[in-house]
Symmetry: C2
Subunit: 373 residues, 2 copies
Amino acid sequence: MAIDFRIQHTDISTSGRCGVLTLSRGVQISTPCFMPVGTRGVVKSVSPQEVWGLGYRMVLCNAYHLYLRPGHDVVSRLGKLHHFMNWHGGILTDSGGFQVFSLVGLRKVTSEGVEFRSHIDGSTHFFSPEKSMEVQAALGSDIAMCLDDVVAYPVEKHVAAQAVDRTYEWAKRCAAVQKTVDPALFGIVQGSTFPDLRQESAEGLVSLDLDGYAIGGLSVGEPSDVMLEVLETTVPFIPQRLPRYLMGVGTPVDILDGVVRGVDMFDCVLPTRNARNGKLFTSFGSINIRNARYRDDPEPVDSKCSCELCSNYSRSYLRHLIQEKEIYGHRLSTIHNLAFYQRLMADLREAIREGKLSTYYGQFLARMEDSND
Amino acid sequence: MAIDFRIQHTDISTSGRCGVLTLSRGVQISTPCFMPVGTRGVVKSVSPQEVWGLGYRMVLCNAYHLYLRPGHDVVSRLGKLHHFMNWHGGILTDSGGFQVFSLVGLRKVTSEGVEFRSHIDGSTHFFSPEKSMEVQAALGSDIAMCLDDVVAYPVEKHVAAQAVDRTYEWAKRCAAVQKTVDPALFGIVQGSTFPDLRQESAEGLVSLDLDGYAIGGLSVGEPSDVMLEVLETTVPFIPQRLPRYLMGVGTPVDILDGVVRGVDMFDCVLPTRNARNGKLFTSFGSINIRNARYRDDPEPVDSKCSCELCSNYSRSYLRHLIQEKEIYGHRLSTIHNLAFYQRLMADLREAIREGKLSTYYGQFLARMEDSND
């Protein structure tokens, strides 16, 4: 077994559960977990020691980006991704399906796979399910994702149905490759906003007996309530005993909404990208440090936070760094936002253990509404 | 006395000397020293803890930049610069003279001071010697520099002579202000490439009994041998017992050339700026990590270096980060170059203590010529 997943507690009044995901390399990840995004083999602006020190044990890297540069062959020769980027935690790799989906006008999808043009130099490439698995295995991923066919929102049903079929066929081919390579393999449920398609997609993929299942095709522009409906119609078709992963999500509230519906894993660029733009998550809501009101503010960003930023610097100084586009400002605010997300996940796990997830949810929303810039 | 400077050893066959500069706040700096540049109140891409950990005890900040943003008044209200930027070492502030000099076409110099337009928003400002001292004192500088009149290279003698006079008059006015504020005060010797003007400038400033003297108006485009001639004609007119500071210099070889001529202090953006462009100093010469030859290179940048970069990462990984403009790549290469410069200064001090500076100089040049990309 490439991974082991144990559920330790389930909440009383919601579908929330907490547990431990153990990778074949021995790394243990408490769930529900958030995975910082390290697209190109680094979580932007922070060191792997800092990511680890904040309590994270798994990051997401992108097969598509690393395939293009520096090349999965280079990474493989350099001792694979963990060694290359000096990260001793777990690595989940995105298959490239979503990135290729984002290359509007630069891709051609057939039943064989996806032909796409590089966003860097326009060169033509082809990702088949087999190729995607080869790349993810060469990178040394702990958890590989099946290549999936992602469709836009909104989409006509027949297009969504074709993508469900294709995603299933491709997952079957990924599963065949997985027998000969190291990574665990997660399927990705598609089906857009159509409950029957979501069910069909989930049931098909579950029949392949993969190591975990992601809910894909979300965070592509659909309203928040649509995302939650899809989640509610999809999660019941994923076996209780397996990890469930909501890809590319999201805001703190999105994560709460996912956790109460039984999701175990999340990833998103939001905390790191927002940080670089000066948008910080705090215990009293989010703030934009570029706001002129912080020019003379001697207080820490969040007096309840003990991260490197909040322990050592004023809002005034961070505002100055961000205004001047100083690299160290990007680092400090990234550390802060990642500390916030890690604390959120720890609080959620604690609330589940104590059977108080509903109460926590209500309190959190009230706190967040206190102050927003 | 705002600072104390003790010379502990002088070299046998050169003018090199090593000593200790003690600031009023108790910070001790071994000389010859290099000061990393923290223009806007941060050494680009690294934390003050990292700068300190590398052994640096003094950085240079720019009065001009901090005056414009966030404003010296803001910094002052926030507890002055040391507290603002969380730096417990010394801070030397540039007066703004050189920055204003760089604003070609945007400045007007009179005997009263310099009127200039902000490089940020075009707003008009006026720096008199008194204003420059007020700004530097408000920032909480440990060593302030006199506002000086910098001229381009090459320049006609009568223009250089006028700048010498003006620099002297301004220094007198700075010295008058200094009696009422905290920072120590260094004069800046001008005179372009004219030995008699350099002598006149030095003698005039020395008569003001300042705490130390800088050789200014260099690194403005003159050839290297011209810089060394100026150094040789200027240094003898600065009292032995006082610190001598060569502003804006330079490459490792420039620093060696300065140290053998009796210079004690240096600052330059070179190690930090080059780092961000992938140009790294090593024990076998400088390399450009963007070179394709490093694509698959599993070796550390410099096997003789034990910095965060060289202890943990391959050339291949750093090349990848720099190619992708990843912020963490800027940090790692900055740490590396600052570690190199600090080791260079420590080696120079050691060579002076052992009376072997000439030998070290020769060996260093030979090593540097071994390999250059």
